[in-house]
Symmetry: none
Subunit: 220 residues, 4 copies
């Protein structure tokens, strides 16, 4: 990639992640770039054009990190744990990406819809999980009443939220705690949570929960 473009995108990702689309300043981006403000418009057309490019670039950056380990060589439960840990770490190490996605959600997902590459990438990750789940279900270790998307939403939800809402959450509950220890424990909890969600040898089942959704909240 053209190093000029590369440079602009790096700066833009940082600025948009830091301040959001509305709060970001084109002048601020230009100032931290090796080129001029005029060039931003030459290459990207508008502030929104630059934002969209930065968003896509951030997703692309994550994609590289998604070049996954070989889960197939591990037994299902271990593979699942590795997968969850990997996704958790990914979010933990990509706070800019997380912030951009948050901002994008606040904007109603306007810009992500047009990014086909993002969709492909996401689906590939989901399929990797689906294969692990399938293996576990065939071996009898994993429950059969869960969709891969149920699990995927849990993993991403827990991982994402830990990073995205850290500011308010730790301000409210963990004032002064050691950040590294908090993350380490949280990682373990998330892996454990998903592991228990999916194993066969546990009590309540999803069917009961769905029944309950129409009636009371009580499951035996």
């Amino acid at each position: 990639m053209d190093p000029v473009i590369r440079n602009i995108l790096d700066v833009a990702v940082a600025e948009f992640a830091e301040h959001g689309l509305a709060g970001a300043r084109v002048d601020a981006i230009a100032a931290r770039t090796r080129t001029s403000k005029r060039m931003l418009y030459y290459h990207f057309g508008s502030k929104e054009g630059l934002y969209a490019a930065a968003l896509a670039d951030a997703y692309a950056g994550v994609r590289t990190a998604l070049e996954q380990p070989d889960y197939e060589s591990l037994p299902p439960a271990a593979a699942l744990g590795a997968y969850v840990g990997h996704l958790f770490d990914l979010h933990l190490k990509s706070p800019q990406f997380v912030r951009l996605v948050m901002g994008e959600n606040l904007l109603g997902g306007r810009f992500i819809e047009s990014a086909e590459s993002v969709r492909q990438m996401s689906h590939r990750s989901l399929e990797t999980l689906a294969r692990i789940v399938q293996r576990g279900q065939r071996s009898g270790e994993f429950r059969g009443d869960l969709e891969p998307l149920d699990i995927y939403a849990n993993i991403v939800g827990l991982s994402f939220h830990f990073v995205s809402n850290r500011q308010t959450f730790s301000a409210l509950f963990e004032a002064g705690a050691d950040v590294r220890l908090v993350a380490e424990r949280r990682r373990a909890v998330v892996i454990d949570t998903i592991d228990r969600q999916i194993r066969t040898d546990t009590a309540a089942g999803l069917a009961c929960r769905l029944d309950a959704a129409r009636g009371s909240d009580r499951c035996p």
Copy 2:
């Protein structure tokens, strides 16, 4: 509360939730208010002052909803399910609140720190959960190696993320799906997930996960 103030806050909450602090427009707020722009400054001093007030007001709105059912009269597992469902519903019904908290996180939690009322409210909700957990642990139904905060973070994380990231998530994975069915299933999955996280009769334990955090990702 002074109806003028009430009116201003309602409009401000909507505007800030919609556009964030940077994207919100004081003029837009004033225009949708029954008073003039000058009055916003008279009562709240600045845009940021109004934002802080709107944020606190949104939290207060949720507080009312938190006047909780009497969990004590239910057996621990049922109480937990009810608690989780309640929190999930709370987020589902308060998208403005969720959006404000997202925006606040993007701002680094700058404004929430000063809101003591918010902290108190949050802690009260955590304590309610803690009491349920304690009962379950004493009866042997619930695991003893979990902190209430571990569970609370899971519940809030899953509930919040479902609402906050709906735009991108459903754009990527659920294009065209029935929104109500998706929410219903998701609610059941979340309750089920927390239930399984906390019961005693399941396989892997947290200790193993924490060990793993220092070594591999594999738990027996």
Copy 3:
């Protein structure tokens, strides 16, 4: 009218007449005004909004001048001559108005269409002419095969063109001539031309010309 608005409009009319919509500079207008650039936007919303207001104001300025003498008390031919002279003088004394209308034509008449007041004013002037013509036709002095609009277009066309194309026309044909004498002679020619167009005692008729339009250009 608010003197601030009045002041802005005066300056804007001058600037837009001088440079056209595209060539005019908002900064230049603001600088020659007693208020700030910000106020232009406060009162008129945009450069185009200010342009439209200036255009309407220029037309209104002409309207005042159109408060016409009492043509009814003159015999038809004399009334017609007075009317033509009046319109000629009007254009001659309103070069800014003429330039604005030229610019408006170059813009395709985009802004004039929305100005109902302009339409009313123009039609009132046409009706004044129509009444004179009617009197002359009844008395037998004026031809009966002409529409008032045919005559009005001639009067306005000749008057307008003399002012609007003076720059190129005199550059090409009258380099160095005395401007006042040129205008005086031109005024006489225009009145004479219209007078001859409309009298009964002349040679060729319009019918022949219209026939010719389908065939040759030769009229007996």
Copy 4:
């Protein structure tokens, strides 16, 4: 002419006619050209240089059309009618030329002065008219108190104005009328008007009008 230059000029004429000097965009011209923006500057030096070239080119385009029919073989009155119709048609078919000349007038005729070729062309056309007039005067058909320039200004004024002010004029008076019929009638009216202006057998004379210019507007 170099086809590259030809191509650039065609595009430039269109753009400047459409938007005027200030409103035209060099980028827009370059984009619709078969060459690059750099070439415009290579060949024409600047935007203004290109404008001047486009203006001269538009005049030259009209010159070709002015290669006139053989008026000498017609009797004076018929020749005059043909001449007037020819000039009217010329304007009608050259709206781009008309728009350019309008713009040029708004610019004060800055660029036309330097174009000697334009002057020559215009004078040749005037001389053609003068010869026709002279023949008519000698035969007694035409009045002797008119300068050829008086007539030429009338012809060009009426023809030009019909095209140049069509936008505002028809917006104000002919909303919805059939464009072709309007033009046809207008053409006949113009020929008729000039014919009557110049014939001997009519009432009022120019001398009276000129006298009137110093006194009242009333001619016997």
